[in-house]
Amino acid sequence: MATTSPAADAAHGAVTAPGMPQLDFTTWGNQIFWLMVTLVVIYVVLSRIALPRIGAVLEDRQNTILKDLNTADDFKQRALEAEKAYDAALAAARAEAGRIAAQTRAAIQAEVDAAIARADVEIAERTAEGEAAIAAIRRSATDSIAQVATDTTEALVAALGGKADATEIAAAVAAQMKG
């Protein structure tokens, strides 16, 4: 332990005391000189190039993020507006559809009513016609029956050997048919 290493001896060209090389003041000037050089180099590089650049990058990023957020907000606003417009259009369309439906319903109703009225009139006409026809037929049937009765009576009277009196027979038939 008493001697220093050969390297140390060679370094200083003299025997240094064993112990802390930190307290070997012959090297301080050298260390301080190179320290100042290093610090100045680092300071100049940082303050001239690196720090402004990184600061600008960070600011750019902040701006980009803010811009993106604003754009997103814009898009959201527009989406909300579009939704509102869509809702309004939907409501309008619904109202229009309701109106058209009501109109159509009313028109159809009117048509149906008119058709029913026409049909009623026709039915009434046909009924009247039918009744008239029935009445005519009934009348002609009564006439025919009277004719047949008269003829039958004449024939019966002739067959029984009597002399048929046309007026009497007609009156008798009329009296019978009233009954």
Binding site: I32, V45, D60
Partner: protein, 249 residues
């Protein structure tokens, strides 16, 4: 250092040899001689430039990995300066950033086996601390004039106590660069020396597994210390800057 161990007598410890300053060429150290200090400081500067300049050439909005690290370091120190020293201290940000990056890279480069740790030298840390001390004192007087002395006049204390407190405050103010520098160099040096001592024990075959385990554990702690001491140095710089910009308690 390769010159350690086996000197014939068994266990030999040279835990401090790793801190010897040697010229890269020749024997004599003048103030301008390129030494291992020059080499490792240069490497630290290169690492800083690689991270902060070449890592950010893309200027990408979506950062690459290295750019993320550079931005993280930027944000970390920027926020520290802003929070601890105040908004008007932001103009000192490049200065604080320089100190932090230099110390953190020197500490981590020093953890590479066979490397030289520049921050383990008082010559280096005392200069760093004195730079901070001088900056704080000069800025304090320029910004506040005589009011800067109110830092030592504790108005919240009873009047009788104030002179006593003033002396204490004054002493503590001038002790700052000492504690500021010795804390960093001492921590770094002690850890590296302890690792060397454990490494010396590894020459004994029986103890060597324990020794290796201990070195591994110490190395883990040293990785923490490397960052924490850089952080502590930087945040104390910010605290002192706050005194310069806003004196008074």
């Amino acid at each position: 250092m390769a010159t350690e161990a086996e000197s014939g007598t068994g266990l030999v410890f040279h835990p401090m040899d790793q801190f010897i300053v040697k010229p890269l060429f020749g024997d004599v150290i003048h103030w301008y001689t390129p030494t291992n200090v020059t080499l490792w400081m240069g490497l630290a500067a290169l690492c800083v430039i690689a991270l902060m300049v070449f890592g950010t050439t893309g200027r990408a909005t979506i950062p690459s990995r290295i750019q993320s690290v550079a931005e993280l370091a930027y944000g970390f120190i920027y926020k520290m300066v802003e929070d601890v020293a105040g908004k008007d201290a932001v103009k000192f940000f490049p200065y604080v950033m320089t100190l932090f990056l230099f110390i953190v890279f020197s500490n981590f480069l020093g953890l590479i086996p066979m490397s030289f740790t520049t921050t383990s030298h008082f010559a280096v840390t005392i200069v760093l601390a004195l730079l901070v001390f001088l900056t704080v004192t000069i800025v304090g007087f320029i910004k506040n004039g005589v009011h800067f002395l109110e830092l030592f006049w504790v108005t919240s204390a009873p009047l009788a106590l104030r002179p006593v407190l003033a002396i204490i405050e004054l002493v503590s103010y001038f002790v700052r660069p000492v504690s500021h520098s010795i804390r960093l160099a001492g921590n770094v040096m002690a850890g590296h020396a302890v690792i060397k001592v454990f490494a010396g024990f590894a020459a004994l075959a029986v103890v060597s597994p324990v020794s290796i385990l201990a070195i591994t554990a110490m190395y883990g702690i040293e990785v923490l210390v490397a960052f924490i001491q850089a952080y502590v140095f930087t945040i104390l710089t910010c605290v002192y800057l706050k005194d310069a910009l806003h004196p008074g308690h």
